[in-house]
Symmetry: C2
Subunit: 362 residues, 2 copies
Amino acid sequence: MQRRKFLKTLGAGAAAGAAVPFLSTASAQETITWDMVTSWPKNFPALGTGANDFAARIERLSGGRMKVRVHGAGELVPAMEVFDAVGEGTAQMGHSASYYWRGKTLASQFFTAVPFGMNTTETNAWLYHGGGLELWDEVYAKHNLKPFPVGNTGTQMAGWFKKEINSLEDMQGLKLRLPGLAGEAMNGIGVTTVNTPGSEIFTSLQTGVLDAADWVGPYNDLAFGLHQVAKYYYTSAWNEPSAILEGTVNLEAWNALPDDLKAVVSEAAMASNLAMISEFAVRNAEALDTLVSEHGVELRTFPDEVLEALYASSQEVLEKQVEADEESRKVYDSYTAFQQKVRRFTDVGEFAYLKTREKVGV
Amino acid sequence: MQRRKFLKTLGAGAAAGAAVPFLSTASAQETITWDMVTSWPKNFPALGTGANDFAARIERLSGGRMKVRVHGAGELVPAMEVFDAVGEGTAQMGHSASYYWRGKTLASQFFTAVPFGMNTTETNAWLYHGGGLELWDEVYAKHNLKPFPVGNTGTQMAGWFKKEINSLEDMQGLKLRLPGLAGEAMNGIGVTTVNTPGSEIFTSLQTGVLDAADWVGPYNDLAFGLHQVAKYYYTSAWNEPSAILEGTVNLEAWNALPDDLKAVVSEAAMASNLAMISEFAVRNAEALDTLVSEHGVELRTFPDEVLEALYASSQEVLEKQVEADEESRKVYDSYTAFQQKVRRFTDVGEFAYLKTREKVGV
C-alpha cells in the first residue's frame, strides 16, 4: 500500500518497477532524485536543519546531479520507521539516530551514545581512525543499509526535574522520560523510566505523569519550552556525553553510485558532522544563557552518590547486553578499548586545559 | 628566476604566459592541475599527510577534474614563503599555519591559536557559526588569498624541559624555543625565547643552546625524537589549546572556479578539518603511551604561579598588539566575545562531563 502511494508521488522519470531510481554509469549526466526520510519534524533545530544541510551539501557538491528531497517525520514514513523504509528502498536515504533501532539490532546503541563513554572528539576518532565506522558498516550491511556519521549533539544534559535531587533516595520511584539503555540504567537505581514521545513530554511534565524528563540539551529543550513545566535543569551529562547523528543510504542505491558521487555523499556527511558539532556548541551556549537569565532556570548537578550508582548500573546493563549478543560484544569491545586509549590524551590535553582555564580565571 | 624555473617544471598544458592555469567555464571537462605548497616536510605526521589528505579529497570529489600536486617545504618554495607564493600565484594552493605570517598581517595570529583561548570545538564554532571565517576572508583578501580551516592539532603541549620547573623563579633566563605571540608572553615572565626552525630543535636541546623547546604534541614530538634530549614533558597547554591548520587558494584562481568546484574545495577542507582532529586525538594518545611506557618520559605541569603569570603576560601582549593594529582589534574582539559566550556551555557540558568521568572512576 505504502509503496504504491510512494511511487505515485515520485512522478515522472521513476521506473515503475523499481522503488529506487539508480544512476546508470552510461548516463553520467542524468539527475538522480532521492528522498531522505527523517525522524525529526521538518526544520527542527539542528537535527531537522541538519538533514537539510546534509542534503544541500550533496546537491552543491554534485553540481546539481543529485537532488535530495528531505521529509520530516510523518511526511512519507513515521519517525520510527526510517530504518526499515531506507533498508527496503521506500526512500533512498535516512537521517535519524541509530539507538532508535535497538529492536532491530542491539549493537546500534553504540553508534549513538554510551553512558560514561567517549566525548565528541574521542567518538569521531573511533569512527574515522579506530575501526568504528567499519564495524558500523558491518552491522548495518545485514539490514541493507550504508551508514554515515552526519552530526553530533556534543554533550547532552541529564534532564528537567520538578523537584531537587539531593540524594539517591530522592530518585526512588521517580517517573522519568529516558529511553533505551540509559533508561535501563536508571531503572537499576530505582527510577521508573518511560519512553514518552518527544511531542508528549511537555504535557506529561505539566500534568505530573512525569516527574522528570531527559530530552537533548539547552537548544532543543528551549524549543520545547520544558523550562515552563520543570524548574531544575540537571546538567550532569552521564548518559549521552556525545551523540552521533546517523545518515543512511539504501545499500543497493549506494553500490550503484559512481565513485565520484560516492565521494560526494561521504564527504558531505563528514562536513555535515563538523557543521552540526559547531552549531550545537554555539546554539546550546545561547540557549543556556536565555534559560538562565530570562527564564530563571536553576542549574543543578546530581549528587556524587547518584552518579556513582548510575555508573555501576550502566556498566551492569551494558555487560548484560553484550553477554547475550555477539555483535554487541564485538562493537563494545572495540569501543571500550579505544576509549581507554584515547582518553589518556584527553586527560592531559583537553581536560587539563579546561582546568587551567578555570584555575587562572579566564 | 624562480617563476621561469617553475613554469619549466609545470610541463605540457601550462600556458606559458600565465602562472596559474584556470578552468574556463566553456570547457567544463578540462582537467585543472594545481600545485599546493606546504610548510611541512613531505608526509610529515598529520600535517604533511594532512596536506595529502586535503588534495586527495579534492581529486575524489571532482571525479578527477581537479588534480592537486602536493609539495613539501623547500620543493618549490621554502616553508616560510608559502603565503607569498600562493598570493602571487606561483602556486595555486597552500597548506600552512596563519600565525607564521605575523610579519605580513598581525591579525593572522588569531586564525591559528590564542593563549588561554578557545578549544577545538569552540574554535570551529567561531569559524563556522560565529563570523570567524568571514573575518579571515576579509583579512586575507587583501593579500589575494582565500583561506580555509583544513585541520586542527587539538590541544598542544607546553614543551620539553631539561630541568624541572617548580617555581616562577626557575623560569628566569631559561632559553626556550617558542615563536610568535606566545613567545612574547614568555618573554614577559623572564624567559628568553628563540624562534628555532623545527629541524634544529633536537641539536639545540642536545648542545644546550636551548634549555627547553615547544614543538607540537606527543605525535609530532615523538617523530622528532625530542624525548632523547629532554626528560620532562610539560603538558600544561596554555599557548595553543587548539591550533587551526590553514589551507589557502590564490584568490583569482578561486574566483575563476565554477560553483561546483568551489564546493569541492570548501567541503574537502571541512572534511579534512574533522579528519585531522580525529587523527591527532588517537595518534597523540598512542604516542603519549609510547613516550611514557617505552621512553621513560616524565609528565609535568607548570606550577600555578607560572600559569597565572603567563595568563597576565599573554593578556598584556594581546592588548598591546590590538591597540596598535585595527584589524587585530576587530578579529580579537570577535574572538573574545565569542569565547566568553561559548565557554559557558563548554563548562556545564564537556568540562563537567570530564569531571564526572574522573569522579566515578571511568
